[in-house]
């Protein structure tokens, strides 16, 4: 069997299912009364108070060692918590990136000091990070980064601009991917990662309003910002390998097919009482897709648990998930008779309008559709 097209079946996990009850009850209580339009913000909704509560209950850093504030749970258990948060549209943005990628990266490449200093605070839901990859001239072509950390006495002097940095305005630190030697012509060589304290002088954060009117991403400029030497994560010059691993963490989860659950639930509620044949078929089709993607995504979690390379498998889930999610507003439109002047469908229409406005991002952030398909093609041996 072409290994690329098979995903392991994950056995039933009683502990994880018990945990599902717990997290569901918690989310129901915490999110009672939150409107679907707010829930539709899903993992871009920021609420530090909520993140701290999750941390208190042991729902962040779940798989990390206890000595770093983690809970030594399995990937299957973590998966349940993640998917329940996404499906409920919980405002998880504050800690999401740190839990998903910065923490695991520190765990893998960080110094003992970094692990002791940051991981417990991340797990407590108190320390937030952001992803410093994209720049004005480095989008899909990440190796084109120009931001430069010049080694100086006791640390680095950083100059450059990071762009589209989600949550930089709320985060304590940025995991900065930058050049520490050579020139942009050296591409992957001479790059490194620094965990930069965003309160340092010389760093300016300017919010950018997104298409839906929300402010979650930013432009971050560094002007002769001095960053101490102990901010270096991993090895100097090993940035490319590390950032590829960071992206693998970023792409491994079920975000991509679960961030429209609020809209899907809204649609099902609207259709439930008077569902005709067309609605049954359309909702059934969404079920067949989501059930399949869940199976695949849980398979990815199992592969990670076993230390296998799940990169192409995870990329396929993300690509399929984006295509599905982007189709949902149109599915809804084909089933529901609605008009802005009809007060009975107005709430649903505003939910639809919001989701529709953000759908373009589904195949951009975390790697564009074309980039993901390039990765899959590499998995097939074509590149």
């Amino acid at each position: 069997m072409n290994a690329l097209v098979t995903y392991p079946a994950t056995p039933e996990n009683e502990k994880a299912e018990a945990l599902r009850k717990e997290i569901r009850a918690f989310l129901e209580a915490e999110l009672a009364g939150v409107s679907p339009v707010i829930r539709a913000r899903s993992w871009t909704g920021y609420d530090a108070e909520f993140s701290r509560k999750l941390g208190e209950r042991g729902f962040i850093g779940m798989t990390w060692p206890k000595k770093y504030g983690g809970h030594e749970r399995s990937n299957a258990e973590r998966y349940v918590v993640i998917e329940e948060c996404l499906a409920a549209g919980a405002p998880v943005a504050a800690h999401w990136i740190a839990d998903r990628q910065s923490g695991p990266l520190l765990l893998r490449y960080g110094t003992e000091g970094q692990k002791q200093e940051f991981l417990p605070r991340i797990a407590a839901g108190e320390f937030y990070t952001c992803i410093g990859m994209s720049e004005p001239d480095a989008g899909s072509d990440l190796a084109a980064v120009r931001t430069r950390a010049e080694p100086v006495e006791g640390g680095y002097r950083v100059n450059g601009t990071k762009l589209w940095t989600t949550n930089a305005h709320n985060a304590h630190a940025m995991l900065l991917f930058c050049r520490t030697s050579g020139t942009p012509a050296d591409r992957q060589k001479g790059t490194s990662q620094l965990l930069v304290d965003l309160s340092l002088p010389g760093i300016e954060i300017r919010p950018i309003t997104d298409i839906a009117g929300d402010r979650h991403f930013n432009e971050v400029t560094f002007q002769d910002a001095f960053v101490p030497a102990d901010a270096l994560v991993g090895e100097e010059g090993n940035g490319w390998e590390q950032v590829m691993n960071e992206l693998a963490y970023e792409r491994s989860g079920p975000e991509r097919f679960l961030s429209s659950m609020a809209l899907i639930e809204g649609l099902a509620d609207l259709l439930r009482t008077s569902a005709g044949e067309a609605a049954e078929i359309a909702i059934g089709r969404l079920v067949s897709h989501i059930a399949t993607l869940r199976f695949m995504s849980r398979g990815v979690a199992a592969m990670l648990e076993n230390g296998e390379n799940a990169n192409p498998h995870a990329t396929i889930v993300k690509d399929l998930g984006a295509v599905l999610e982007q189709s949902i507003p149109d599915v809804a439109r084909s089933l529901v008779d609605m008009s802005p002047d009809d007060v009975t469908t107005r709430d649903f229409l505003s939910l639809l309008a919001y989701t529709e406005a953000i759908t373009p991002a589904f195949s951009l952030r975390g790697g564009t559709r074309e980039i993901l398909r390039g990765i899959i093609a590499r998995g097939l041996g074509l590149r």
Partner: protein, 354 residues
């Protein structure tokens, strides 16, 4: 995955893949004989693979046994392995004796079997209906097994040339060949079991198609480079891989849930999702293979055309998606709580015995 399965899958892949010129596959399409390959299928014990050891199987889990159907299709094998495995599974459940010969099955109306034990009915579009040694009939509250020759079978024209037959049956059922039908084997359940067989076959064929397409674009050169070096081609094949992966995963979800009963809802997911993947998978493969893929001679059509027939059998996307939609609306509560509930998500340990 268990060691037995590894050994068995290797052996099955060798067996089904041994026919390098697809002679049997082509013979099956020309109404020819596939007995030689079936003998080897029997030697490996595959017809009884879905049964427990007490029933005559060799202790594979259902998840493992069902993989064999996919492997056969992936290697282009033209044999009624899925039909035979399911027919035997039904016979074992009904307490009838199981068979190693080729078998097929037909669900007929309740009135087909009269008070006097006479079975008279017509059966349409029965796969391998002319070739099978045994026909398992489910009608009303009975299960019966009929030997080849005790009914008439007329080949029907499948547009993609798979062996299908219309049957006319008028025979008195012999003692020992008829039994009470277990309540768990209702019409929908049996249809779902065969829908899963077809989905597994489609998924296996898609894996083969992906391989054929990748091999082809690596070797065919135009404009001075292999086609596979062109980004437009790479992006197309990525989509093919996406869809083939989804079809395979949907089948694995259902296969991993097969236990004492057929997992009807996840079988619906499998057939609907594999069916939906059929269009992009076959279209992309034919696009990248160009004119050579449009010939009778090239083996691509053995897989794509089989998919086009399988897609229509035992319920298309429309039928199974509708059932899923009805079940979702009927479940009450949120869609999410139903999706994560036992019907569509719990999977047994894949290595667990059936």
């Amino acid at each position: 995955m268990s060691e037995t399965l590894d050994l068995l899958t290797d052996a099955a892949a060798r067996l089904f893949g041994s026919d390098s010129e697809d002679k049997t596959a082509r013979a099956a399409r020309d109404g020819g004989n596939v007995a030689a390959i079936w003998e080897q299928v029997v030697d490996m014990g595959l017809p009884l693979a879905l049964l427990s050891e007490e029933e005559g199987g060799f202790g594979l889990s259902a998840y493992e046994a069902l993989q064999l159907i996919r492997i056969s299709a992936r290697n282009g094998a033209a044999v009624p392995l899925g039909e035979t495995m399911v027919a035997n599974w039904i016979m074992a459940r009904a307490g009838l004796s199981v068979m190693e010969g080729m078998a097929t099955l037909a669900v007929l109306p309740a009135e087909a079997i009269g008070e006097d034990g006479r079975l008279s009915a017509t059966g349409h579009w029965v796969p391998w209906g002319r070739d099978a040694e045994t026909l398992v009939v489910l009608a009303g509250d009975r299960v019966a097994s009929l030997a080849k020759g005790s009914f008439e079978a007329k080949a029907v024209q499948d547009g993609n040339r798979l062996p299908r037959a219309d049957l006319s049956i008028d025979t008195v059922l012999e003692d020992g060949s008829v039994a009470a039908r277990p309540a768990s084997l209702d019409d929908v359940t049996v249809r779902a079991a065969m829908a899963l067989v077809r989905a597994l076959e489609m998924a296996g064929a898609m894996a083969a198609i992906l391989e054929i397409a990748v091999d082809y674009v690596n070797q065919r050169t135009q404009f001075g480079r292999p086609l596979g070096k062109f980004q437009a081609i790479q992006q197309q094949l990525a989509v093919l891989a996406d869809e083939a992966a989804a079809a395979n995963a949907a089948c694995d979800l259902a296969a991993s849930q097969w236990g004492a009963t057929v997992p009807v809802l996840s079988a619906a997911v499998a057939k609907a999702r594999a069916g939906e993947a059929s269009a992009p998978v076959t279209a992309i493969a034919h696009q990248v293979l160009g004119a050579i893929g449009f010939t009778e001679e090239h083996r691509l059509q053995l897989f794509t055309r089989a998919i086009w027939t399988w897609r229509n059998e035992y319920g298309s996307e429309r039928e199974w998606n509708r059932m899923l939609g009805q079940a979702a609306f009927g479940a009450g509560g949120t869609l999410w709580s139903w999706l994560t509930g036992p019907a569509l998500s719990r999977t047994k340990n894949a290595g667990e015995a059936a």
